[in-house]
Symmetry: C2
């Protein structure tokens, strides 16, 4: 946890309703030399279905490898999250620590091991100490239930604020609730900034369909944010549906309410993803990059991410400089179909360049005023087709260097 | 030009020999509000052959588009380089400025327009002023010949030192000379940090074969360096062979001396590429990343560039932190075949992690001492095959943010 709150943190946190079938507890495992809760135990009602999306890293943590396997059966009874130690790149000893957690938790709950989901985030290369995990689990099993904010704070590492979101949908005339907690100060970082997101709903959703909806929502949210283009060994998003709401089960988009649920899930994922960007390491500006007119939606997304990941674009925004030349550069380097002479670029709704040229009588004043703010919009029209995508990032500041050049020392 | 010399600048610049058939002149076109030479005119003897590699950007400058066409005929009589204005994203007016330069220079030399090569580097989006180009050309045509160092200084923009390299080869019993000048403070930046490199040799080399050799040399040098992963709209490397040396003509690798010439060209390109990294914006450490044991050489290069472009790796080195966890992360995100449990990572010749684990009794002291230096070696063995690649980069420091967040303001 950083002492300094991100300037982009929301002024107020939402009040999350209880989700029937979900109980959170926290405890101190002291995975690091600190005096804070760092172990989260979420108990889930029997019958909870689960779906997940996991890092594409070729060097994932044992937790990620385990979850990938466990997700295949689609049921969940518990989630355990360790903060302070990523347990990544720890070989057999890392997997043994996961196994210890599984056996203790399955014994406590009387459930199958593969109904327990485990994540760890923090320092890489140090096996998760089994003795601390064991003592922590004993404490957390006995702990009183806690609220969402405590759970959201306990999964934090370099985050500067706990991140929570909630929404609802009408399914079969019943209001179902969706709430999520997430941590991450970027997509980034094996050390402490892994993105871990957990979504809980009382709706009844068949696991395969939950996976389908989660994948679609992720493509437009978590996969459209970037802080520094780095990908953690441990990135994880899990969605749990407890089925405790009397609404009818959702098994496909043919079901009444499925579209509403999908829309709510997409909204929740977007809220959560934006919170991660708002806590991007060193961030001072929240940047939305909308690309239109590309050859395809995929092409638009690659162009948008090329802009969002460009250190030169990100430092220009930090410097409050409407440097559209750097945007041209980032479009050009994306390798996607683009024609310099059809390109249009705008900041804050003001078109700066069009048809390969700065606009006649370009007035920088309204653009400069927009750049002074903390919410920056960059619009790029490629002028070729109808492909579109929107991604979100933050600026690149001295704060990022401070945090990451001095992290271990 | 920056006031502050890069701490990685070479202590002494090499003395470049004259290359028969090459004459440099410089003048003040005053493309910016400055009092320095910013226009370079290199006259080349009749019969000079030329080859080039140009930016892959989909939004290239008119100069790049023009050079791509002109290179097809393979002969050159002149090179014109403008510093201070990139003339990129300037539409028809930008192309008209190039045309003006071509017509004035071809009239002066009495040669075909497509034997004249033109580059521009500097601010993007402002058409190169034709009146300044015309006055500058008139002055430069009348100027006295100058030395290599003056030419190397005149093509600079944000560079902190002029960059020159030289070597030689024996071809048919004759010593042929190869010299190069280059500018760039990164691969980077449409504004002022475009990489422009020019190679001159008195050897006689058929244009198609020169292109073949230049492409091979580029793959191992210019395409193996990165400062911030950004690609300029104007990146250009041109090689000119004047044929003024009595050595026999080189037309294929079957010719005596062709291998020696290729080796010399590769050496020259490597020297030049390293100079660019040494002037990387804000750089305080020169980093060599050697990847071995990958599935293929291409795979090794992609992994090496993933490490070299990772902001987290680059900030760790800036912080003198042997943070091998971030190297694991960067290997994992490259998307190339890798097996966490076979990975080995070393710094400065000391193996830190092996077989998916930190080495037993890891002694950080020699590694920490290596990280304090200004030349950092990172070695990664993937443990799968025999693919290998080496790339070079610099660290990511507050200096980079200073330069790029404040550039236009």
């Amino acid at each position: 946890m950083s002492d300094k709150l991100s300037p982009l943190a929301p002024a107020i946190s939402p009040a999350l309703p209880d989700i029937a079938g979900v109980t959170c507890r926290i405890a101190r495992a002291r995975y690091k030399d600190w005096d804070r809760c760092d172990l989260t135990f979420v108990k889930l009602a029997a019958g909870t279905s689960v779906a997940g999306v996991l890092t594409q890293s070729k060097c994932p943590s044992p937790e990620v490898e385990y979850c990938r396997e466990a997700l295949k059966q689609g049921k969940a009874r518990a989630l355990i999250v360790n903060a302070g130690n990523a347990n990544a790149f720890t070989g057999a000893r890392g997997m043994a620590a996961v196994q210890k957690i599984l056996s203790l938790t399955s014994a406590h709950l009387g459930c199958a091991e593969d109904e327990i989901f485990v994540s760890s985030t923090g320092v890489i290369g140090v096996p998760l100490p089994q003795d601390k995990a064991e003592a922590g689990l004993k404490a957390v099993f006995e702990a009183d239930p806690c609220g969402w904010e405590d759970a959201a704070a306990t999964i934090m590492t370099t985050d500067t604020f706990p991140k929570m979101a909630t929404t609802s949908a009408i399914v079969g005339g019943q209001t179902v609730h969706l709430s999520g907690i997430i941590k991450g100060s970027g997509m980034i970082a094996p050390d402490m900034a892994t993105m871990l997101g957990y979504i809980f709903t009382d709706a009844t959703v068949e696991a395969g369909f939950l996976r389908e909806m989660l994948s679609a929502a992720t493509a437009e949210s978590f996969n459209c944010i970037t802080v520094d283009s780095d990908t953690s060994t441990s990135d994880t998003v899990l969605a749990f549906a407890t089925g405790q709401n009397p609404s009818p089960a959702l098994t496909s988009f043919d079901d009444d309410g499925a579209d509403a649920f999908q829309a709510a899930l997409a909204d929740l994922c977007m809220q959560m993803a934006h919170l991660v960007v708002r806590d991007g390491e060193g961030a001072s500006k929240f940047i939305e990059i909308a690309v239109t007119g590309a050859d395809s939606d995929d092409s638009a997304k690659r162009i948008a991410l090329s802009i969002a990941n460009s250190p030169l674009v990100k430092t220009a925004i930090a410097g409050e400089d409407a440097n559209w030349g750097r945007v041209v550069m980032a479009v050009g380097k994306a390798g996607e179909p683009a024609d310099r002479d059809r390109l249009a670029i705008g900041f804050g709704g003001v078109t700066v360049a069009r048809d390969g040229l700065v606009v006649p009588d370009y007035d920088e004043a309204p653009v400069a005023a927009h750049l002074k703010g903390s919410e920056i919009d960059i619009a790029v029209d490629i002028g070729l087709g109808s492909g579109r995508a929107t991604v979100w990032t933050c600026d690149l500041t001295h704060g990022y260097i401070d945090i990451n050049a001095d992290y271990r020392s």
